[in-house]
């Protein structure tokens, strides 16, 4: 089984070259970073680009560092980079907790977090966590740089706010004290996509972000649930109240990997456990990052 489609391959060394190439092939060029989605799609004939633009020679988009009061994560940062990074362990261990659930080592060594949200499949693991972190996505296009609030990023099934001639350069996440969780339901460890997933970040003063993966066409955030939790100490009844809201906030499908009802029920369970764990982690206790809640 070979790749049937013929295409040109370019590995430019500047962002200006990338955006020029993308602009010269409107709609028929694809960006290649880790390739774990792109090459699979090429093999499946799911895409047939004229041009593949490999961005791995671009300097300045590998960074994973604190810059001012924000965490900066370059487009070429892989899931393995996140797991091994001391910066992530110190400032955003939730990203490592999420990254550890992505596929397996051989994929994580190549797959990038930015690529994950550019592929934008409903079950993308980075989606719920980056939504919960109020992330900003930074892009460059022919007319210059712009940034997109992660809340405006996912616009539909496998569709994002990125236009065909733009390339994501990096993400930024404001540094704030927080406790976070990523809870992922899967059939077995390794190589499985989420059947359902919950991302939660608890900020001081009972300020929460609550997000879901694999239960809608895109990763989603529930501001209704966040508002219900806002400004009140977490109690059994407060948790029960928002758990009861889950069914109206998500729209899972039944497919080969799980039924809609199972996804819904497990999302409720994951939200309940996740809220307690996030709030305990904010307080400096609770389960260690990486401990599985289900």
């Amino acid at each position: 089984m070979v790749i049937a489609n013929e295409f040109d391959y370019q590995r430019p060394s500047t962002l200006a070259d990338v955006t020029r190439m993308l602009a010269e092939h409107p709609g028929s060029a694809r960006i290649l970073a880790g390739g774990t989605d792109l090459v699979a799609w090429l093999r499946d004939d799911a895409i047939a680009p004229d041009l593949v633009v490999d961005i791995k020679n671009i300097t300045g988009i590998h960074d994973l560092k604190v810059e001012g009061s924000a965490l900066r994560i370059g487009a070429l940062v892989t899931f393995s980079d996140l797991i091994e990074s001391e910066v992530i362990a110190a400032h955003a261990p939730l990203l490592a907790e999420m990254a550890e659930t992505v596929a397996s080592q051989g994929i994580r060594n190549r797959a990038t977090m930015v690529g994950n949200i550019c592929s934008a499949v409903p079950s993308c693991d980075a989606g719920p966590v980056l939504l919960a972190y109020d992330t900003t996505v930074h892009l460059v296009g022919p007319s210059g740089a712009r940034s997109v609030d992660i809340n405006d990023w996912f616009v539909g099934l496998r569709k994002t706010a990125r236009t065909d001639d733009e390339v994501v350069t990096h993400l930024t996440i404001a540094l704030r004290p927080h406790g976070g969780v990523y809870v992922k339901l899967m059939r077995y460890a390794g190589e499985d996509l989420a059947q359902a997933a919950v991302g939660i970040v608890a900020y001081p003063d009972d300020d929460y972000r609550v997000t879901f993966g694999a239960v809608a066409p895109t990763p989603i955030r529930s501001t209704r649930i966040e508002d219900a939790l806002h400004g009140k100490p977490l109690t059994e009844s407060a948790v029960a109240e928002v758990v009861a809201m889950v069914r109206d906030e998500i729209s899972p499908i039944t497919d080969i990997r799980a039924s809609a009802e199972y996804r819904t029920r497990m999302t409720e369970v994951m939200l309940e456990r996740g809220l307690w764990a996030a709030s305990e982690r904010l307080a400096g206790r609770g389960p260690a990052y990486g401990d599985r809640l289900i």
């Binding site: 090459v39 490999d54 080592q105 051989g106 460890a189």
Partner: protein, 153 residues
């Protein structure tokens, strides 16, 4: 397109098409047959090779992406005889049909390089993306743990 890469310490220059996949180039153009053609979509791990020391799926990498990089396969780690890990696979009967073995040996080699004394959980995590349909994994985990500096479970 011209492709220059190091395979098991040997420099190769060859002409490839952009659509050629690294796995196929290794097997068909270079003659390195230990990476196996399994699922061809990154799920089974039988095509695993080390790229600059890290395990990767050669079925999901275009050959041109490997330009300038070092590729290691089991042929490379056993050029001076079997590695300690490979010997422990023999001693522990860690494979039967052998189809998964090159990938698992390389995944475990990467693990031991970064973590010389892995726990059972570390070993399971490292090989979770390498499917074996014969052994039930226990003899594999035993061999990798024995290769760790702990020497045994």
């Amino acid at each position: 397109m011209e492709l220059n890469l190091n395979i098991n310490g040997e420099h190769w220059a060859l002409d490839v098409a952009p659509a050629d996949v690294l796995l196929d180039v290794l097997r068909d153009k270079i003659g390195v047959k230990s990476p196996k053609i399994g699922c061809e979509r990154g799920d089974c791990g039988s095509c695993t090779v080390l790229m600059d020391g890290r395990s990767v799926r050669s079925c999901l990498i275009l050959a041109v992406e490997a330009d300038g990089h070092d590729i290691t396969t089991v042929e490379g780690i056993s050029s001076d005889g079997l590695s300690e890990l490979q010997n422990l696979f023999l001693v522990n009967n860690s494979f039967q049909c052998g189809f998964c073995a090159p990938g698992i040996v390389l995944s475990a080699t990467e693990l031991l390089e970064h973590n010389p004394n892995p726990t059972r959980h570390d070993v399971q995590e490292a090989i979770v993306g390498n499917l074996c349909r014969c052994t039930g994994y226990e003899p594999i985990i035993k061999a990798v743990l024995a290769a760790g500096k702990g020497g045994s479970e």
